[in-house]
Structure formats: C-alpha cells, structure tokens
C-alpha cells in the first residue's frame, strides 16, 4: 500500500464570517452558570423507578431529562441542541457524587478559577434533590467496596482514583459514523432483533433483556429530543420576520425531523446528527473527555457529497459554529480540581489526518477545514490533534505548524510509528490499530469499540521516591503506609535504593488496581449507560452495557506522574553519593528532612551538578527510563472486572500540582510540597540544553509500553519559530522526536505572562533562551530591566 496521498490539494480555506464573529462575541460575553434542571429531573425519575433494575432506571432517567430540560435555538445558530438552560451553563449529576457540590454551593460564584453563577432558587432545588441521593451515590458505594488500605493510599495521594470515584467515566468515543450512515432507527432495530433471540428462562439472558430494553428506551428518548427542536424551529420560523432566518429555521426543523433517526445526507444533516448524539452522551453522564475522534474521516463524505452545491465559506461557517457549540458544553468541578483543571476544559479530542484502515494516507478536505475552524474560533474546544505518519502531506503539516504558532497549544501531534505498534501489542487488530484516535489528553484507542477507562488514576511517582527513601513512612503524616523497604541511613549502594523504589511501586500499584476495580464494579452495578452503550460495539450484540464489559476492547489506564522527579532523584543519589561521593547519605538525609533549610548550596549541588533528564545525557535519561519502566511493568500485571487489561500511561493532566503538594523534599533538589514535572517533560528549568536535547532525552523513554499515552509539552519563545523557516524548524523537531520513538508532543509559545513568571521564578526557567542571531545567554542571566525589554518585545515581531 502506498502510504503517500496521490494528490493533496489544500482546499479553499476561509476566515471567520460575520455570523461566526457575532457568535464568538456572544460566547465571550456569557458567564457560565449552574443549571438545576437535570438534577431535579433525574431525582424525580429515580423516585418513580425505584423498583427497576439499574439499566432501565438509567434509561428512564435519560428519557425524563431529554423530555424535560429547557431547549432553545440561539440567534445565528445553524446546528442546534443545548446541554443546559443557557449556553455555557453546567448541569448537575448528583447520582455520582453530590456532597462536595452541596458543601461548595455558596463558593461557586466566589472562587478564583472557573466561576459559575448560581441563583438562590437553583441552590434550593439542588439541596432538595441532594437529599434523595445521600447514601445512594456511586461515590459512596465505591468507597464501601474499596479495601480500606487502598482507600487510605488514595486519601494520602500516593495515587488518586478520584476521577471516576466522583464522576462518570466518559473517556470514550461513540460510533458516530454508524449514526450518520444508518441512523438511530437502525440501532433500535438491532436491539429489537437481539431481544427477539433471547430465551428468558436462562437467567443470564434475562439480564440481557433489561439492558436491550434500556437501549431502546434511550434511543427513542434521543429521537424525541430531536423532535422537540423540530417543533421549536417550526414555531420560531412561523414567528420570524426575517425571510432568510425563516428559511434557515425551516431547514433546521426539517433536519431535526430526519436526524439522528435516519441516515444523514448533507453536511448540515451530518453535523446536526453528530451533535445530537454528542450532546445526549453529555447529558447521560458527566464523564468528561467524550471524543469526537476521527471527525474528518466520518464527516468528509458528507462534505464531498454536498461540495458542488455549497459555498466554501458556508461549509467552513457550519464547522466554526459547531466548534463554538463544543465550547458551550460545560462541567462544574470541585474547587480543588479547578486549581488543576482551570479553564472549563471538557477534553473533547478531535483528531485529523493519519492513516486509513488500509494504511493509506487519510488526509482530506475536512482535515484542513478542522484546523481552520480552530484558527477561526481560537477557543479551547474541541481539543484539536493531528496524526503524523510517513505519508502525512507537507501541506497539512504546515497548516498544523501555523496553528501551533498561534499559541493555543493546539494541535497536539501524535506519532503513528509508535502508537500503531503499541495498540497492536495490546491486542487490537491491524485495521483497528491504524484507525486509532485520541481520548482526553493523549490516550489512544479505536473509537466506537473501546471502553478504555483511560483516566483511571494518577500514580504519584515522586511520593514513591519519598516512601522509598524513608522506609515506607509518609513524611507528611508520619504514618507507616508502605512496606519497610530501607531508608537513606541504611542504603549501602544504589541498588539498595532502586530495590526500595521497586518494592514501594509494587505495593502501591497493587492497591491502586484494587481501588480502580472497586470503582469499576460500582459503575457496572449502579451506572450503566444505555444510550452510550448502544453506540459502542459489541454491547448490543453481547447484551451487556459498557460498564459490564460489553465493549469489544476493554482497558484500565492509570498514569504515572513525575517521571522526571523520580528519575532525577535516583540519578542524583547514584551520581553524587555513590559514584562521585561529593555528598554523604547523612548530609543528604539531613538536608531533605529540613527542606534544605540553610543548605541552599547543597540544593544547588543537587539541581545543577547531578545529571538531569532532558539534556540528552544518557546517564540521567537511562535512569528516568528505568524508573518509568518499573511503574509500567507493574501496571501491566493487572486485570479489570470488564475482562480487560491494565495499561500504563505517563501524563499528568494537571495532577502534577496536587500530587506534588503532598511530597516532601526530593533528591532532585525539589523543595517540599512543590509541583512535580509535567508529563514526560523534564523538570521545569532543568532542560538547559535547548529543545533538541530535550526531545532526544524524552524519546529515550519506552513510549510503546506506555500505551495509555505519554505527554510532552515543549515551550518555544516566539523568536524561535518565526517566519516560514520557523514552521520548517517546528516540523523538524516533531519529525526528529517521532523518528526517535516519541508518542505525543504539543508546543506552547511563550507569552508575555510566561516571561513575567520567569522573572519571578527563575529556577523554573533556567533553560529559557531568547533566540537572537549570534548571541549567547540565558534569559535568567539577564538583569530585570533587560528582561523587561524582552518581555516588551516578545509579542512584537518585525
């Protein structure tokens, strides 16, 4: 198969229309609020269906929600369907957990990050609803199912399984193509056909009956929801004085009667059908990271069918408007989590390019138009990604690099060379592996077939270093929480320390697996999701929900956080204590115990003189690789209740901040309670040899074993990537990283704010270089007035 596209003409790319600009202004002017409707409706539905099995109860609840929530069609909207009573408002999902919301109701308007407006009426209605849920939430059940030791380690933040412990799972992609091409009517027909085959005298098949019935109820509820929009559009059209808008509303009404029930035929029908399904999934559960995935692949045929009759700017406008709809979806998080997840993120990952199932290049017109939609809207949603393989056309690469340079951190680049084999090793078929997309931050899977549980936990690798150095005693609480594996005072060689690190890793990965499995069992028992399950193979055929293992592929993916801290801590001890003998164990122990009080010189020794991961230095890089492998190999040992395997990832979302807040001073020179390194990125300020050395270091990790994803954030000062040559250089960095085995990279362009932060926290920016012809120096070596000069120039280029 020829991997290279025979022809890659860039389609006509259009900037934002006036309608898109108005819609963006409206979006920006809207403050998120809390909407009580869903919480009230689900509570009532549960009260009325107490006797029903979970699956039916959930289907009836979805039915009540979709029939009862307020709907509206906003000015300028072409694609319709809202998640809550106002744009950007967030519904509440009390069935997963609600104690924290109740505790924080009065703080939601006042907190510093991710503010939500909330009325007194809403507070009262929510309090009433929460009364029902006390003792009934999935959170409380999961806590009861968890071994005490596993819950304790979660509370001590050796790991956190918090995501699915407090929320729905999400982290999935439905088979959108199936809906677009066949319609929900065909899903219902399939469920009915399976029902007809059942023998109810078999207890196992009786259980299937409930599930299959629940999928029919849920799909019919979504069809009825679309019809509500058709009715509303017709009514609005009748009252509309503007002839153009009247026609648009009539077209919306026509389309909402047709999709998602029946197959879509035009671009607008396809986008509307997609949106109803995407929205219904968001209302069924609050699990975030619902991924549109390979949107360019399943939408492009509808664009091509329509292309001759559709102006390019109209097609682009529809996409841009859909992008704004993505950003209107919202979720409220507890105040602690907003510190880590500020910016109302929903992690809806949409990926373009890569290979088709047959291995040929998949780039099409929509691939370019999706990049353009992100450039036109400049919003944080959807999370735009691009797959890179040998046959990726230069033109697509270049458009992607241009978008990277805009400084939004998008697109994220993914490496087919590593990810396809990594998925093959996890048992995916070759075609499925080539068809992968991304969930959430960086997690690969094949959409519409997988329950990946990708964000199962964050494992605190730096805490493991602490426990490894202190004989299993938590330095924050003084409790003995890990096995007695030796301490700074007893190690006589590096191998002793490494053995201790291994012992602690083994112990806590085992507990983490138990904690995850307890949460997993809870979702199966209390929170099956009939609508979502009906759109993921093989749930209907198997007669089992996703939560009970109905998906074709099942995984659990917990992430190691702080690879660089663990690696650099081990390196520092090995190099300075055992190899060079610059430092005794006693001195090191004392400095760590006192958080380097009065021993800044010693901290500087650890920071500046020990080899550091991120500088293309094999000594440090190999130890970081080993530290990561020890974690990954442990995770690989476990199995989940859905019959799938655990698979490790190495990325933090933003958990590196909270996880760092419980870890004492570490031998990498990190002060107590400060953040950990981000993803597989080197410690901030320790990668002083520039981006090329940094990516070569990171590529030395085994990214293939970490098949749940690794994450590299690479920062550039705008001076480094200006002009056409800057785009070429960005591509060269990506290409080199990927040829050496990297998994994911995304680029952040350093802004004025970053440089101001560098002035305040020079330690974290020691590697920062402002690129000027023929000049040699680091930013932090300049004095304040000159740094100010650079800051003033940063966003101005000649």
């Amino acid at each position: 198969m020829n991997k290279h596209a025979s022809l890659t003409a860039v389609p006509v790319l259009c900037g934002p229309t006036e309608r898109v600009k108005r819609s963006l202004d409206r979006f920006m002017a809207t403050t998120p609020a809390i909407c009580h409707e869903r919480a009230v409706l689900i509570t009532e539905a549960y009260r009325q269906n107490e006797q029903q099995p979970s699956s039916i109860k959930r289907a009836r609840a979805l039915e009540a929600i979709l029939a009862g929530v307020s709907i509206f069609i906003g000015d300028d909207e072409i694609i319709v369907g809202n998640q809550a009573s106002k744009p950007r408002s967030a519904p509440i999902f009390p069935e997963f957990s609600c104690q924290w919301i109740e505790d924080e109701l009065d703080r939601l308007e006042k907190r510093t990050a991710d503010v939500f407006l909330i009325s007194e009426e809403t507070k009262a209605k929510l309090r009433e609803a929460f009364g029902y849920w006390k003792g009934r939430t999935s959170n409380e059940r999961a806590a009861a199912l968890m071994p005490a030791e596993a819950l304790e380690a979660h509370n001590d933040l050796v790991y956190t399984v918090g995501n699915y412990f407090y929320n729905g799972v999400g982290h999935i992609s439905a088979d959108y193509a199936k809906v677009l091409n066949s319609g929900l009517a065909s899903v219902i027909a399939q469920a009915k056909a399976e029902l007809a085959k059942l023998d109810y005298t078999d207890p196992a098949q009786l259980k299937k009956m409930h599930f299959l019935r629940s999928t029919i109820i849920a799909n019919e509820a979504v069809i009825a929801y679309a019809a509500r929009f058709a009715d509303l559009a017709e009514k609005m059209a009748a009252d509309c004085a503007d002839a153009l808008r009247k026609d648009e509303l009539r077209e919306i009404a026509r389309i909402c009667r047709k999709v998602p029930t029946r197959p879509a035929e035009t671009l607008q029908e396809a986008l509307q059908s997609f949106w109803f399904v995407h929205l219904a999934i968001q209302l069924e559960s609050n699990g975030h990271s619902i991924s549109p995935m390979r949107f360019d692949q399943y939408i492009d045929p509808f664009f091509q069918a329509n292309k001759a009759r559709l102006l390019p700017e109209k097609a682009q406008e529809m996409l841009d408007l859909l992008w704004i709809k993505f950003a209107e979806l919202n979720k409220v998080r507890d105040e602690g989590s907003t510190m880590a997840f500020a910016g109302y993120p929903m992690f809806m990952n949409l990926i373009v390019g890569g290979q088709k199932r047959d291995g040929s290049d998949a780039t099409n017109d929509l691939s370019f138009m999706c990049l353009q939609a992100s450039a036109n809207t400049g919003l944080y949603a959807p999370s735009l990604s691009i797959r890179i393989h040998e046959g990726t056309p230069d033109a697509l690469y270049k458009e992607a690099a241009k978008l990277s340079r805009m400084g939004m951190g998008y697109p994220a680049y993914y490496n087919d060379r590593v990810i396809v084999p990594a998925l093959l090793a996890r048992g995916l078929s070759r075609e499925d592996a080539r068809d992968y997309g991304i969930i959430g931050c960086v997690e690969p899977q094949v959409g519409g077939k997988t329950e990946g549980w990708h964000d199962a936990a964050f494992f605190n690798m730096a805490k493991i270093i602490e426990l490894a150095l202190y004989d299993g005693v938590d330095q924050r609480t003084g409790k003995q929480i890990g096995p007695k594996s030796g301490s700074l005072e007893t190690f006589t060689c590096y191998e002793d320390l490494l053995a201790s690190y291994k012992a602690q890793t083994e112990h806590f990965v085992r507990l983490m697996a138990a904690a995850d499995n307890a949460v997993d069992m809870t979702h199966a028992e209390l929170c099956p999701l009939p609508f979502l399950s009906s759109l993921v193979a093989d749930c209907i055929a198997e007669g089992r929900s996703l939560q009970e293992g109905g998906a074709h592929y099942n995984f659990t993916g917990p992430q190691g956080v702080g690879v660089a801290n663990a690696g650099d801590s081990l390196s520092a001890v090995k190099y300075l204590v055992f190899d060079e003998k610059t430092l005794t164990m006693k001195e090191l122990a004392e400095a760590l115990r006192t958080d380097f009080k009065g021993r800044e010189d010693l901290r500087m020794l650890l920071v500046n003189r020990a080899p550091k991961y991120g500088n293309d230095n094999d000594y440090a890089d190999e130890i970081a690789r080993e530290a990561a492998l020890i974690y990954c190999n442990e995770v690989n040992r476990y199995t989940n209740p859905r019959g799938g395997k655990f698979q490790p990832g190495l990325y933090p979302a933003s958990a590196n901040v909270p996880l760092g807040s419980v870890v004492t001073a570490t031998p990498d020179g990190r002060k107590a309670w400060s953040p950990l390194a981000d993803g597989v990125s080197p410690i901030s300020g320790c990668d002083t040899c520039g981006p090329t050395a940094s990516v070569l270091s990171v590529a030395k990790l085994d990214h293939e074993i970490a098949s749940n994803g690794t994450l590299l954030n690479q920062k550039f000062h705008p001076s480094a990537i200006e002009g056409d040559t800057g785009l070429e250089n960005l591509k060269a960095v990506t290409e080199t990283y990927f040829k050496n085995g990297g998994f994911h990279v995304q680029y952040n362009v350093i802004s004025r704010e970053t440089l101001e932060d560098a002035q305040r926290n020079p330690d974290q920016y020691k590697g920062l270089v402002v690129r000027v012809a023929g000049y040699s120096a680091f930013f932090t070596a300049l004095d304040k007035t000159l740094q100010d000069d650079i800051i003033a120039r940063t966003e101005q280029t000649f």
Partner: protein, 324 residues
C-alpha cells in the same frame, strides 16, 4: 562529557594537549537564526574588533575570562575560601568582588559554585570533543536543512582549530557555516572558505573612519576580504547590526546595500541581507566581566525606522530580512 557538564570544572592544562585545541566559550544547540535550519553554534573566543555594542563581550579576549552573575549567588562564599590566590574578596558593603588580575584560572571557584554564579569563560576543546557535541543534533540538521556554525568572537582568530574543525565537520557530512567579521589575513579566509558552505558576515559601517571609531579598526581590509570571497563565488549572508546613532542613517543603509549588490556582481551567491536591530542583551555580560558597557542608555531602534531602512535596502538587494 557534554558541554553542560564541562561547565562544572576548568583546567588550563587542557590547552596543552596534542592536536589543534580551540578555546570555545559556548556551544548552543537549536540556533535558528544563524545559517538556515536548526543549527549548533560553536562560539570561539578572541576578536580583533572592539565594537561598542558587542553582544558577546566575553568573546573579545583570546584567553579565558572570569565572569560572575551576582543574582545567581546564594552567598555561600565557598568560592572565597577555595581561591588559592585570594582573588575573590568581600568589600566593606558585603559584596563579592573579583580581583581579576590575581586570578590564575585554576578553576577551583567554579568547582565549588553549585549555584552557577562564578564561571570561567572558555573551555579548551579538541576538534573531536567539539564535533561530538555538534553531532548530537545531526538528525535535526537533516530534517531542517541545518548544520554547524562557528561563531565568536572572530572564529578565524583560532585559524588552525577552525580549519581543522570545519574540515572534520565536512568529512562527517555536515553543512558548515562561519559567522565572521572578515577582519584578518586573506590567506586564512581562503583556507577557511574551502571548508565552508555559507559565510555569515557583517559590515558595521561603510565609512572607514566611522568604522574605526565604532569598532577600533578600519573597514578596508574587511571590504577587501569580502570582495575576494565574492570573487570565489562564496555563498554569503550579509548582516548589518543596526545601532541607533551609529550606523542607522538612510545613507549608510543604502551604501551598505549597494556594496552587497556589488558582491553579487562579483560572483557571490548572496542568500540574504539581514538587518539585525540593536538589542541590549549583551549589556549585563559587560558588568559580569567587570567592564563598563560603552553604550549605556541606547535603546533598540523603533520598528517603523527599521522597516523604512529595510525597504531602502530592498532597492538594492532582493532578499532583505529583519532579524535574520
């Protein structure tokens, strides 16, 4: 041992090893404005010019220098006790002062300064040691059309080392560039040119007298060398550091651009004419070396002024850039 690790220690004795030994003051990876693609810049010490605006003042002397970044100092004063010459002392106000004349470049202060405040500028490297560092980014050069650039200082001041290093880089299949002020014996440049794919050079002023007062030397030899390079068909990028009040008149830009056009006529492949607006990033390094910055208070040129001058230059040369 990579370049970063070399900073932890210094030995004068490295100079006396066999083979051409260079005095290198920095090796910077991912340089993107110095000859096309992603490059590694090798900075060699020693320069015959004394430009008042010099952005790398640590490059001037052909010998090691001692440098101190005060705001990196954590006040551990280990450097003072480590110095066998008592060259590092504390003044009455409690400030660390270096008696530079007394320094014997033993490197003991650097070895104890974990915070990276004290440094000795320059490491004596063999050609092979230099190329090992350069080769680490070979894949990036291949993917971006980059390579190695020897800069300075004036790299040709270390004639023997430069030629050997360039030849070795060529032998290893790397694209080579030099960044030169072109002030030196023609024989040296002729030999260097044979191993160099691209010459980055600059003309600080077209008037010989003004050139001498700004840099300490006349531009006659420079212009002559550039013409000879052009006649040999050299591939060149000509750059003009644009210094407010020194060389930023319309007349000087026009004269410089006309000279560049003349080089093309003589046979040079001029890739571009780059106007490099003055910046003050070198200023703190003067202080860190214990010297007075000769141009305090000069501000970077205004954007409109730079763009106007660039458009004048475009009247003579096609490929004019700002910032390289």
């Amino acid at each position: 041992m990579n370049w970063k690790q070399r900073q932890f220690s210094f030995s004068l004795a490295d100079k006396d090893r066999p083979g051409p030994i260079g005095l290198v003051f920095d090796i910077q990876r991912f340089a993107v404005h110095d000859g096309g693609g992603i490059r590694t810049l090798v900075f060699l010490k020693g320069c015959p010019l004394r430009c008042k605006w010099c952005q790398n003042p640590e490059s001037m002397s052909p010998h090691p220098d001692i440098m101190r970044i005060p705001h990196h100092c954590i006040g551990c004063v280990k450097c003072m006790s480590a110095c066998p010459e008592q060259a590092i002392v504390m003044d009455e106000d409690g400030r660390v002062v270096i008696r530079r004349d007394a320094c014997s470049f033993c490197g003991k202060c650097v070895a104890t300064c974990y915070a990276g405040s004290m440094s000795i500028v320059g490491r004596y490297l063999s050609v092979d040691e230099t190329l090992v560092e350069v080769e680490r980014d070979r894949q990036f050069y291949e993917n971006s059309g980059g390579g190695v650039t020897f800069s300075g200082g004036e790299p040709s001041m270390q004639r023997e080392f430069l030629i050997a290093a360039l030849a070795e880089a060529k032998r290893r299949g790397l694209h080579t560039a030099i960044e030169t002020c072109a002030h030196g014996p023609w024989e040296t440049f002729e030999a260097v040119l044979a191993q160099t794919d691209l010459v980055l050079t600059d003309i600080k002023h077209m008037d010989a007298g003004a050139h001498k007062s700004l840099t300490g030397v006349s531009n006659a030899l420079i212009a002559d060398n550039l013409r000879r390079m052009a006649a040999l068909g050299a591939r060149m990028r000509i750059r003009l550091p644009l210094i407010p009040g020194c060389n930023d008149t319309r007349e000087n830009i026009a004269a410089t651009a006309a000279f560049v056009a003349g080089l093309e006529t003589l046979g040079a492949h001029v890739e571009g004419f780059d106007i490099l607006p003055y910046h003050r990033l070198g200023e703190p390094k003067w202080e860190q070396l214990g010297r007075q910055y000769p141009m305090p208070g000069v501000r970077p040129p205004a954007r409109d002024h730079v763009l106007e001058l660039a458009s004048i230059a475009r009247g003579y040369v096609a490929a004019v850039t700002v910032g390289g």
